[in-house]
């Protein structure tokens, strides 16, 4: 199988801006091209990851860079859209049809809870069963009941991510909060509080990917290898994140993160102990705790211990969400995974400044969302 590498990375800050999707998307794309030392006319195919933007947004954004006859395709897989788009780019190169591809994520979203009509049926909306955080919270309540996970452990994850965000110029919120402030913030859905949850926003991130041969030929600066790139949908009843209306009490299938992680580790020929830094889906602080377990950083039920022991701090054995995570960056859905990938690239190049994980050689980016869509990308230096 052909080796695929990232040769350019670009990002537009995540936040709320008085700018069009074309403006923020083309900003990230041009930055990635500049980082790769390539011109737009060198690119052979492009994929846009987006969920809220209208049809043909990829063409609308990228045609601003100049007329082209390449294929430009929009990809949607809920919160995992970026992983699905990156995977299409990787496949285009592995197949031999393309040598160099642009993968862009871009989004513009209204404030507040996401529009429930995107994923719920009318009856669920009418009965009030359409609040995304209520599903995350029900998972948290069950985990606390089964394993003794505490409010304080959940708050510590939010504390860590807010603290990391101070050093990330691309995050929407860059403010440190005390544990008292986090635990004193209003409950959204028990046990999840306002300062433990992510907000929708605007943002864009892009990578230029190429075959390893192409990267060598052009003398690419600091190429980063895509060791694994996997997207899956949850098996039957394996996820009640949303928009579920029920789940089985008899069938116990592995969850989407567990399945995707196994496939991604196998594709990369690496295991969790080989990974030096992680960017994961902290739609809420509990979600990150559960992901520690499902990415095999610890046995199921022991996620709380990891945060207590500082294992996932930037200076810990398994640093998680050095960027501040979605809690700090917000979640511009289509841009989210590419934003994680751009962070990992800067970590593996040793360019992450105060967020830098010492001697990081391998990094993992993980997204998870509606419908049990999950994607994991593993990068290696």
């Amino acid at each position: 199988m052909k080796d695929v590498v990232i040769i350019g990375a670009g990002i537009h800050p995540f936040g709320r801006f008085d700018k069009t999707a074309e403006e923020i998307g083309s900003h990230a794309a041009r930055m990635a091209l500049q980082d790769a030392g390539l011109a737009w006319s060198d690119i052979e195919a492009s994929y846009l990851s987006r969920m809220y933007l209208p049809a043909t947004s990829g063409a609308r954004i990228l045609r601003k860079l100049g007329g082209t006859d390449m294929p430009i395709v929009d990809i949607e897989a809920a919160c995992a859209s970026g992983g699905a788009a990156l995977r299409q780019g990787v496949l285009a190169i592995r197949s031999g049809e393309c040598d160099v591809v642009m993968v862009l994520g871009a989004e513009k979203m209204p404030r507040g809870f996401m529009d429930p009509r995107m994923i719920y049926a009318d009856w669920q909306i009418e009965m009030g069963l359409s609040l995304n955080p209520s599903y995350w919270s029900m998972r948290a309540m069950r985990h606390m009941h089964e394993y003794g996970t505490t409010d304080l452990q959940i708050a510590k994850i939010a504390y860590k991510n807010h603290q990391n965000s101070v050093h990330n110029p691309y995050a929407m919120y860059r403010k440190e909060f005390s544990l008292e402030e986090i635990l004193g913030s209003p409950l959204i859905c028990d046990p999840i509080r306002r300062l433990e949850i992510c907000a929708p926003d605007d943002g864009a991130a892009a990578v230029v990917i190429a075959s390893a041969d192409y990267a060598r030929r052009i003398g690419a600066r600091a190429p980063v290898r895509i060791a694994g790139c996997v997207h899956t949908i949850a098996r039957y009843s394996a996820d009640f994140r949303c928009p579920a209306d029920s789940m089985s009490a008899t069938v116990d299938n592995d969850g989407p993160t567990e399945v995707t992680a196994r496939k991604a580790y196998a594709q990369a020929g690496l295991g969790p102990e080989d990974v030096d830094c992680f960017e994961v889906q902290d739609t809420d602080a509990f979600c990150e705790l559960e992901i520690y377990e499902e990415l095999q950083m610890c046995p199921i039920g022991e996620g709380g211990r990891l945060i207590d022991e500082g294992v996932t701090a930037i200076t810990g054995r398994h640093p998680v969400n050095m960027s501040g995570g979605l809690i700090s960056k917000g979640e511009p859905v289509g841009a989210s995974h590419l934003g994680q990938v751009v962070e990992i690239v800067s970590q593996l190049r040793g360019e992450a400044g105060a967020r830098q994980v010492q001697s990081a050689r391998v990094g993992l980016a993980h997204v998870l969302g509606a419908g049990g869509n999950c994607a994991i990308t593993i990068l290696q230096n």
Partner: protein, 141 residues
């Protein structure tokens, strides 16, 4: 003198979700489907079994009695066309486990602060002012 408003005609919140005639609410059940091939029970009237994909599925009414497997309290008004009380009143929502081996996402009536995992609850239809029949689980006490 005012004439009483005619009662609106009763309609289910979703077709295939409730079993029994709407004009006898006391006998109304939540509708389920049981797969004859794999034995899995699912919510609502389904033509296919989402577990095994086969089409040998029979409708069954689901039991009224269940228990709370997990829950949360919704403390902000859900977005969009929510038809609950205005101004918004916080309410509990949970996964209610039924003896058929199924956990149903449902509102839980009564005091949201009193809901606990393991609590026994009972199915009840709930009729909205617009004639739509929804469902809720009440503490079985």
């Amino acid at each position: 003198m005012t004439d009483a408003m005619p009662s609106p005609e009763l309609r289910p919140v979703r077709s295939g979700l409730l079993a029994g005639p709407l004009d006898n609410l006391a006998a109304l059940k939540l509708a389920g489907s049981r797969c004859r091939a794999c034995g899995e029970t699912t919510l609502g009237t389904n033509a296919l079994c989402p577990n095994c994909g086969r089409d040998d599925v029979a409708p069954i009414p689901l039991s009224d009695e269940g228990h709370v497997w997990t829950y949360t309290v919704i403390r902000y008004r859900p977005p969009g066309a929510y038809k609950g009380p205005e101004p918004f009143v916080p309410f509990a929502v949970g996964l209610v486990e039924l003896p058929e081996g199924l956990r149903v996402v449902a509102p839980i009536g009564g005091d949201p602060e009193a809901v606990r995992i393991g609590m026994a609850v009972r199915f009840a239809p709930r009729v909205r002012d617009d004639g739509v029949v929804e469902f809720v689980y009440h503490p079985a006490a």
